[in-house]
């Protein structure tokens, strides 16, 4: 029912990451649907360090506030500033225009510890 791209990896808290040299991070289609209309996103700055499993920001919908958790450790090298003016991109296109951060991974071995698309689909069924 919800889109779960095969080429991404996932965490139970509903963030996704690509496995590129510069990994993109966002929240899943399931998460945006659960949240409803996203109206505000708070993200770290370029140069900030992420630690796997720790909070890195906040996404707020009209009805709820949710913390964002880092799927991997690394250095923030890009922030999707379009979300500051158009947070609804998270709802409209969570895996593309609604991306949140670009991160240089600290340890690529961390990707192997994440859920595959199939495992994440099972979790959200």
């Amino acid at each position: 029912m919800f889109e779960v791209p095969d080429d991404l990896r996932y965490v139970e808290s509903h963030e996704w990451t690509s496995t590129d040299d510069v990994a993109r991070i966002g929240i899943t289609d399931f998460a945006q649907d659960e949240l409803g209309d996203v109206v505000f996103v708070e993200l770290p700055d370029e140069g900030d360090e992420l630690a796997k499993g720790e909070e890195f920001g906040v996404v707020e919908s009209i009805k709820a506030v949710s913390d964002l958790y880092a799927p991997i450790s690394g250095t923030v090298v890009g922030v999707n500033e379009a979300l500051f003016d158009q947070p609804e991109l998270v709802n409209d296109d969570p895996y593309a225009e609604g991306w949140m951060l670009e991160v240089e991974p600290a340890d690529e071995a961390e990707f192997d510890e994440l859920l595959t698309a199939e495992e994440y689909r099972e979790q959200t069924e």
Partner: protein, 370 residues
């Protein structure tokens, strides 16, 4: 304890609604999106299932006396078919609940011609408590009145928005276009005998329709407009600055009298009611804190419980409700501040996850500030 379910729980689920627990009931919070539902009510029309609201019927020779002594407004001002907004306060003037009181229209109320009959609408989950309050005081005061908890006999829908009047008029046999605000009548909708009132909780023109529980499905289907959940109901009422029980006042967690809560017009001190003396004192002495509207001037959303500070960092109050206004596209909030800071235009700070965000006190309804 399991949540109580409205009669249309399955109809809503089949339509794809998401549900939330509210006042002990499992109610639809969202059908499509809060933003779309909110816009439908502001621009055209939407229908809400508000069957979680309580209904208590009071009739008999002393019904007027009992209602007068347990609500802050003046029920003797009501002709049959009129309704009024009122508070129910304790001895210290603290709001236990807010409610609309209907003096039931004559023709179908089934009561003796010499009696009066009322229906009032306590908030969700308050029916048992209010039934208890009414019957206990009736017995204590030796009044002759019949009190019935009709919460699970009446379903209740709200059809709201600029197109609501035409929509509602088409669905029923009675002339509802000419009803004044807060006026009610009986009408037939899809074969069901309903109480229809020109009331609502959105700031738009609209109607609230009470129908027998077992006719809910056909009555709901008679109104062809956007189904809306409690999420949109909340953003709409915040834009109007309307109080929400349990958030903006609560006898346990947010004890407030009607003067603090910004609803002094519900208090008629020339009537006798529980809490009268305390409220007379409060009016005379003034209140230390007041209910205000806020707008954030920095990015962020103020939520229930967030602290309010002055420009020097001193605590001056807190937020009780807040959201991103779908109509204005701005973060708005309601809350209590020290009276010294209640003047519109006053600069304040909202503490959002540890950070102070600039905000200012504004008049409500927020939409008039557009």
């Amino acid at each position: 304890m399991a949540h109580r379910k409205p009669p249309l729980r399955k109809v809503h689920a089949d339509r794809g609604a998401k549900f939330t627990g509210f006042g002990g009931w499992e109610m639809p919070v969202e059908f499509d999106s809060i933003r779309a539902e909110h816009a439908a009510v502001r621009d055209s029309a939407g229908i809400f299932d508000v069957s979680h609201m309580s209904e208590i019927e009071v009739s008999g020779p002393d019904a007027t006396d009992l209602m007068q002594r347990l609500t802050t407004n003046d029920v003797t001002a009501l002709d049959p078919g009129d309704s009024q907004y009122a508070c129910i306060t304790d001895e210290s003037g603290v709001i236990l609940d807010d409610t609309v009181v209907y003096a039931l229209p004559d023709e179908l109320d089934g009561s003796d011609a010499s009696d009066s009959a009322y229906l009032f609408i306590p908030n969700a989950g308050h029916d048992e408590q209010m039934y208890e309050r009414w019957t206990t005081h009736r017995d204590e005061w030796g009044l002759d009145a019949t009190v019935k908890d009709q919460t699970e006999q009446w379903a209740m829908f709200a059809v709201q928005g600029p197109d609501a009047a035409g929509l509602v008029a088409d669905a029923m046999d009675a002339d509802v276009i000419d009803l004044s605000r807060f006026e009610a009548t009986y009408a037939d909708v899809a074969g069901a005998g309903c109480l229809v009132a020109r009331t609502g909780y959105t700031g738009e023109d609209g109607f609230e329709v009470l129908c027998p529980w077992d006719t809910a499905e056909s009555v709901w289907a008679a109104f062809d407009c956007q189904p809306c959940g409690l999420g949109a109901r909340d953003t709409l009422r915040i834009e109007m600055g309307f109080l929400l029980s349990g958030e903006d006042f609560d006898p346990e967690t947010e004890p407030r009298n009607p003067y603090e809560a910004g609803v002094p017009f519900t208090v008629k001190l020339d009537t006798e009611f529980v809490g009268h003396d305390a409220l007379e004192r409060a009016k005379g002495e003034g209140v230390d804190e007041q209910f205000v509207g806020l707008k954030l001037d920095e990015r962020g959303i103020a939520r229930h419980g967030y602290e309010l500070r002055d420009e020097n960092g001193a605590k001056i109050g807190h937020v009780t409700s807040g959201t991103m206004s779908p109509t204005l596209g701005e973060a708005i909030a309601l809350g209590y501040v020290d009276t010294d800071y209640a003047e519109p235009g006053t600069r304040v700070r909202v503490v959002v996850r540890g950070d102070e965000k600039r905000a200012r006190i504004v008049n409500t309804p927020f939409l008039e500030d557009k």
